[in-house]
């Protein structure tokens, strides 16, 4: 089992400078998010996840123990590697999430465009031949051809 024990103890840690820098960046990031919400540039719905990310950054900078725990759990000796891999995964998940949102919205936009096109035809047809509503009896709904 010795090959599994290679990375039990994290040996490469963040330096104090790096931690201070990370904390400042995290705070600035959260301030930016707040500002974007305040100016209506970002929906609250999407801001929460970014805010949580900012808090995570801040926590990592203030309590280095958290990052070391993380590195230990992942089995890497270098805390920065653990940080990078987790960050990458989170960003990957986020961008996938946004692709899903974009697909949904594009579908909705198509539906809207179709709705507007159909409304246009209906209005036009009503304008061309006005005053012909409900003449004759209502047609039965088309019967579906049985197979």
């Amino acid at each position: 089992m010795s090959f599994l024990i290679a990375a039990t103890e994290p040996v490469v840690r963040l330096t104090p400078q790096a931690r201070i820098l990370a904390a400042i960046l995290a705070i600035a990031f959260m301030a930016l998010i707040l500002d974007l919400i305040r100016r209506d540039k970002l929906l609250e719905r999407y801001s929460i996840v970014w805010f949580v990310l900012g808090i995570g950054m801040l926590a990592g900078a203030i309590f280095p123990g958290l990052l070391e725990l993380l590195a230990k759990a992942l089995g890497v000796r270098d805390v920065t590697i653990a940080l990078f891999s987790v960050t990458l995964l989170v960003l990957l998940a986020l961008s996938l999430n946004f692709s899903v949102i974009a697909s949904r919205q594009s579908k909705q936009i198509t539906r809207l465009a179709q709705q507007s096109a159909i409304d246009g035809v209906e209005e036009e047809a009503a304008a061309v031949r006005p005053g012909e509503p409900a003449q004759g009896e209502k047609k039965a709904p088309p019967e579906q051809v049985p197979r």
Binding site: R104, K107, Q108, T110, R111, L112, A113, Q114, Q115, S116, A117, I118, G120, V121, E122, E124, A125, A126, V128, R129, E132, P133, A134, Q135, G136, K138, K139, P141, P142, Q144, V145, R147
Partner: protein, 275 residues
């Protein structure tokens, strides 16, 4: 009472809900075009086809008598919608270009809403003679759910010159038909044909979900999987009158690759249930 446009069980989750026509206009008002004909709609998806659209409309009117004719203008920036209107066709204008699939789907939704029972479709560039579309409509009247015009099927009108195509395009066509035929276990020779006729069952299926980029190819797979009767009818098509196809070897290779992926995914999709 609100209904989604579609009756499928999975329908309406992500779709906008369309109010029932009865609800939208208060007391039910018949669409004016229903006074002329209650049955058939021939629609022409068109994107910047001002040179050919009038001839296509005239051709459709001549060969499919009694049908209403609608042009689905897919965000044209030229005079297509004006000319179509002047020719007396209904015009559904999408506010921006959405791709051929969305245009087809617009017509299906419209047709379902206004109780059309059969829908025929032909391209706006003049490649599809309306007389052939009439044959497709006849095929649907005779029991097919979806009839697709094929340029390459065996007994296409003998005596009419063969449809001409470059070697690369023929190769691509063969590949598509191989892929679709394999995935549907039914022989298709012309998978990218936009000359079709369909009944309410097929329209409902496509109104619910319809690929926007790979409309023609994927819809065949979709229809067969849903248990629809899909029939390929040999037809004869004309060479393009105006405009060019933007197909180069590289883009078609990429297109084939994308289609392969789409068809593979299509095989994995849950089956839609044809009603």
């Amino acid at each position: 009472m609100e209904r989604t446009l579609f009756h499928g069980s999975t329908a309406g989750k992500q779709l906008l809900r369309f109010p029932h026509p009865d609800q939208r206009f208060g007391p039910r008002r018949r669409h004016p075009c229903q006074n002329r004909c209650v049955k058939k709609l021939v629609f022409i998806p068109a994107w910047n086809e001002e040179k050919s659209i009038e001839a296509v409309i005239a051709d459709a009117r001549e060969h499919v008598p009694g049908a209403d004719i609608m042009v689905v203008d897919d965000g044209s920036t030229d005079r297509t919608p004006e000319l179509a209107r002047r020719s007396g066709a209904l015009v559904a204008s999408l506010p921006f270009n959405q791709g051929v699939g969305a245009a087809h789907q617009t017509a299906y939704i419209f047709a379902l809403r206004h109780d059309y029972e059969i829908c025929g479709q032909l391209d706006g560039d003049g490649q599809h003679p309306a007389s052939e579309v009439a044959r497709l409509i006849a095929a649907v009247e005779n029991g097919a759910d979806l009839a697709v015009g094929s340029r390459f099927a065996e007994d296409a009108n003998p005596g009419v010159p063969e449809y001409r195509s470059t070697f690369a395009r023929r190769l691509g066509q063969r590949l598509f038909s191989l892929l679709v035929s394999t995935s549907t276990r039914q022989t298709f020779t012309d998978t990218t044909s936009g000359m079709r006729a369909l009944n309410v069952r097929a329209m409902e299926l496509f109104a619910e979900r319809y690929s926007s980029e790979f409309a023609e190819v994927e819809s065949l797979q979709q229809a067969v999987r849903a248990g629809l009767v899909v029939e390929e009818v040999p037809v004869h098509m004309l060479a393009r009158e105006h405009g060019n196809s933007f197909i180069t070897p590289l883009t078609s290779a990429f297109y084939i690759f994308k289609t392969l992926i789409v068809l593979l995914i299509g095989q994995l999709r849950p089956k839609q249930v044809g009603q």
